[in-house]
């Protein structure tokens, strides 16, 4: 049950635990840190976190299955989240999402065939006045209509091609 975390992740994990009077409280911070480092949360990771926080593994597993942001499988290299909720839908986010799907030949929740992106159609991102709103990895993009979505998609593909 050992996982390969970067030294800075380990340092941040130890720091996070000190923020709470009860170790278990650090579960969400640790899950975030591990997922950011390794890309997803594997069973080994859950067991490792559980041991670190001195709780049974189920106490971590039940968080991973509840909170939408944690994932048990790897995703594409880039993570595109399109907001689905009302204000964005009123300004065309269903079309925006379709545009990304078409460009990357994939569906929400799936990894694209080339492994480059995962698209998700998510709930409100709290930027409703400038919809449709899209988050690409950690960056927020506002007013992403179909044309803008197409530009962003082309840029992501170009970056992917440059890497190869």
């Amino acid at each position: 049950m050992s996982i390969n975390l970067k030294p800075e992740t380990l340092a941040r994990i130890d720091e996070a635990i000190t923020h709470y009077p009860v170790k278990r409280s650090a579960a969400l911070p640790l899950l975030h840190l591990v997922q950011e480092d390794l890309g997803h949360v594997s069973q080994e990771s859950m067991e490792w976190i559980a041991a670190k926080l001195e709780v049974p593994a189920i106490a971590i597993y039940e968080l991973v299955t509840f909170y939408p942001m944690f994932r048990q499988k790897p995703i594409g290299r880039r993570h595109i989240k399109v907001c689905r909720t009302l204000s964005c839908a009123l300004s065309g986010s269903y079309r925006t999402c379709k545009e990304f799907e078409k460009h990357f030949n994939t569906y929400p929740g799936e990894v694209s065939p080339d492994g480059e992106v995962t698209i998700e159609f998510v709930e409100c991102l709290a930027s409703c006045g400038s919809g449709p709103v899209v988050m690409i990895d950690e960056e927020l993009h506002e007013k992403v209509d179909q044309a803008r979505a197409c530009q962003l998609a082309v840029r992501i593909s170009a970056e992917a091609a440059a890497r190869k």
Binding site: L63, L90, L125
Partner: protein
């Protein structure tokens, strides 16, 4: 056009205004905290009571009353939990405070903590704000290095640590007891009240204050000008300013800050936000976040209300409603989170409701059967209608499901998910009636909302 009054958002749109400590201090930042720690904590609580400040997170509960309920005799530590979950669809004010003026929030937090003898505060920020979390962490470190937080602040014996706690994409974490469970490292299942009133049995079973980000920023301004002066801003029982977030079908959506009750819904949408999109007319508006009951343009609201000491008749159209907690309550909706969602005549109310129902069925935590099952059923029925399969009895069926959720659940999510369905079906009965109508709409049309 009614003038904005910017208290919380005074600086955020100024060119060159940054979110670093130096900029905040240059603009007079932390001077209020400096003065506050020289006063007696009880005096500060009194100022907040006098101010009439009502919570900006959703329920509009008086902040001073909430602080007054805190169990101070238990001998246990008192915690502050800052609600930065900003999860109610249509709301995007806390985002701007956090990203553009984090020190204003930290100053408000520290004044609140000092007033309530809190030694540890957690900012619960939604997982979808990774940059916001980093900004807050940096701001806290800056403030700590300058002795505004941490041990022994500003030469006093009083100390307090602030930590940032990130959520992970679940709406129910915005509900205060769900939030507390989430900080404890558990699933965010809301707790039953009683006995779990946070003020008595909150985080780690200790007395806990939960306040919204915007509420805590107001505390800073109350400590600055005094409760009495603050209470003169806005209207009686609806004091101060409030940030209104407008989204959907107007020409200029965005955030606007007004004295509470000094702008009507009509002025807000038609003057401030530039009115409907070209060639369109306004059809419906949800005035306080997606769970608030919808208002239909053309409906009228009549009754008696208190103005000063007198009762006077009112007869309002949607445009005439003052944007304050009490007036929006009187017309059967609520001020809620301040998120105003506008829909024009291009929108099918069935589509819009299906979109909202999909949100709530995704977000129910699943503890209570009426909410877990009912939210799913409402989603399935409206989802089916959107795709052209509607039955004459669907309106009645939807209402019956919604009626069996509200009032029968552990937390207010039950009402939040029932109110849209109840109000949409009541106010737009013609759109929920006919199979022919649904079929006609569904044929040859892209499903753009659901």
């Amino acid at each position: 056009m009614p003038e904005q009054r910017r208290l919380i958002f005074q600086h955020i749109d100024e060119p060159g205004y940054g979110n670093d400590l130096a900029c905040y201090v240059r603009n007079g930042g932390y001077e209020v905290l400096r003065r506050a720690v020289q006063r007696k904590p009880e005096e500060l609580i009194d100022e907040v009571k006098k101010s009439g400040l009502r919570g900006r997170g959703g329920a509009g509960f008086p902040c001073g009353v909430k602080w007054g309920l805190v169990d101070r005799k238990s001998g246990k530590p008192i915690y502050l939990v800052v609600n930065a979950d900003e999860s109610e669809p249509g709301t995007f004010k806390d985002r701007h405070i956090i990203h553009k003026d984090p020190h204003q929030l930290i100053e408000g937090i520290m004044i609140t903590c000092f007033a309530n003898n809190v030694k540890q505060a957690y900012i619960y920020i939604r997982g979808e704000f990774p940059e916001g979390a980093r900004i807050l962490e940096r701001a806290i470190a800056e403030a700590r290095a300058a002795n505004f937080t941490g041990p022994g602040i500003l030469g006093t014996a009083y100390g307090c640590e602030i930590y940032v706690h990130r959520g992970a994409g679940a709406y129910i974490c915005g509900e205060e007891t769900g939030m507390i469970e989430s900080i404890e490292g558990k699933r965010p299942y809301p707790r039953i009240k009683p006995p779990y009133f946070p003020a008595v049995l909150g985080l780690y079973q200790c007395p806990t204050i939960v306040n919204n980000v915007e509420t805590l920023c107001h505390v800073k301004h109350i400590a600055d000008m005094g409760g009495e002066a603050y209470s003169k801003i806005g209207t009686p029982n609806n004091t101060g300013t409030r940030i209104l977030c407008v989204s959907g079908h107007v020409r200029k959506p965005g955030y606007y800050e007004f004295e509470v009750g000094k702008v009507t819904l009509g002025q807000l949408l038609n003057e401030v936000c530039g009115g409907p999109l070209p060639g369109r007319t306004l059809k419906a508006v949800i005035p306080g976040g997606s769970s608030a009951k919808v208002l239909r343009f053309g409906e009228r609201f009549k009754g008696k209300r208190k103005v000063g000491a007198e009762m006077v008749d009112y007869d309002w159209g949607v445009e005439d409603i003052p944007m304050d907690f009490d007036s929006l309550g009187m017309v059967g909706s609520m001020g809620g989170s301040g998120g105003v969602i506008v829909m024009d005549d291009s929108v099918s109310m069935v589509d819009a409701l299906a979109n909202i129902n999909a949100f709530y069925s995704h977000e129910s935590c699943g503890q209570c059967t009426p909410c877990r099952e009912g939210s799913r059923w409402m989603q399935r029925i409206t989802g089916r209608m959107v795709h052209g399969v509607a039955r004459a009895e669907d309106g009645a069926l939807l209402k019956s499901v919604a009626d069996q959720i509200a009032g029968r659940t552990i937390c207010a999510f039950g009402e939040a998910c029932a109110w849209p369905t109840q109000s949409f079906v009541l106010k737009f009965p013609e759109e929920f009636k006919s199979h022919e109508e649904a079929k006609k709409k569904a044929d040859g049309r892209a499903f753009e909302l659901a």
